[in-house]
Symmetry: C2
Subunit: 111 residues, 2 copies
């Protein structure tokens, strides 16, 4: 009946989930890897590397950009993308926040 009760959770929980969601597809991981390797802004080279149609890649780029994981700017007839490192730093912080109360205290699983 209903779907998505996101509003019932804290902002931090939503933020972290949104970040993870952006990473939750191998194509987007692959895109980030390419961008990380080159650092320099890249565009449709990604289309040639990935086994996906141009429109699909464009869509994944859009999602990554909406999530704030990458920056994009128009460079003449082509688009230029690169990783937003600050966003990843923030993610790491949020991620470690998840486990603040423990992780060091007890590394052992109980079951």
């Amino acid at each position: 009946m209903a779907t998505h009760k996101k509003e019932a959770f804290t902002q931090k929980e939503q933020d972290l989930a949104a970040f993870a969601k952006a990473l939750a597809h191998p194509a987007r991981i692959a895109i980030l890897k390419v961008l990380a390797q080159r650092n320099e802004c890249i565009c449709g080279e990604i289309v040639e590397i990935l086994p996906l149609a141009q429109s699909t890649v464009s869509q994944h780029l859009k999602e990554l950009k909406n999530a704030g994981l990458i920056n994009g700017s128009v460079d003449g007839p082509r688009s230029c993308y690169c990783i937003n490192w600050k966003a990843f730093e923030k993610f790491n912080q949020e991620f470690s926040w998840l486990f603040t109360n423990l992780k060091i205290k007890n590394e052992k699983s109980c079951c």
Copy 2:
């Protein structure tokens, strides 16, 4: 026409994406947070904490377990869950692998 072309990507990319996918919902983040705070195996207390139906929580727990993020064992009439820390360690490794070639070299974004 087609959906999900996962098999076209590397195993590492798929693994990382699968892990992220498990985290890609605020309810599952919330569950992990509860488990991290208590460490001790917990079960239906989670149901009381989360603003979701029991069946929905059970479904999320199943996903987390399938992804390997948590362990679960039956304890009499109730189920006991706890975080699989090793899985998170592995994830951290995979995650940093993503950016091996850079991150240190150049923290600045180009666009």
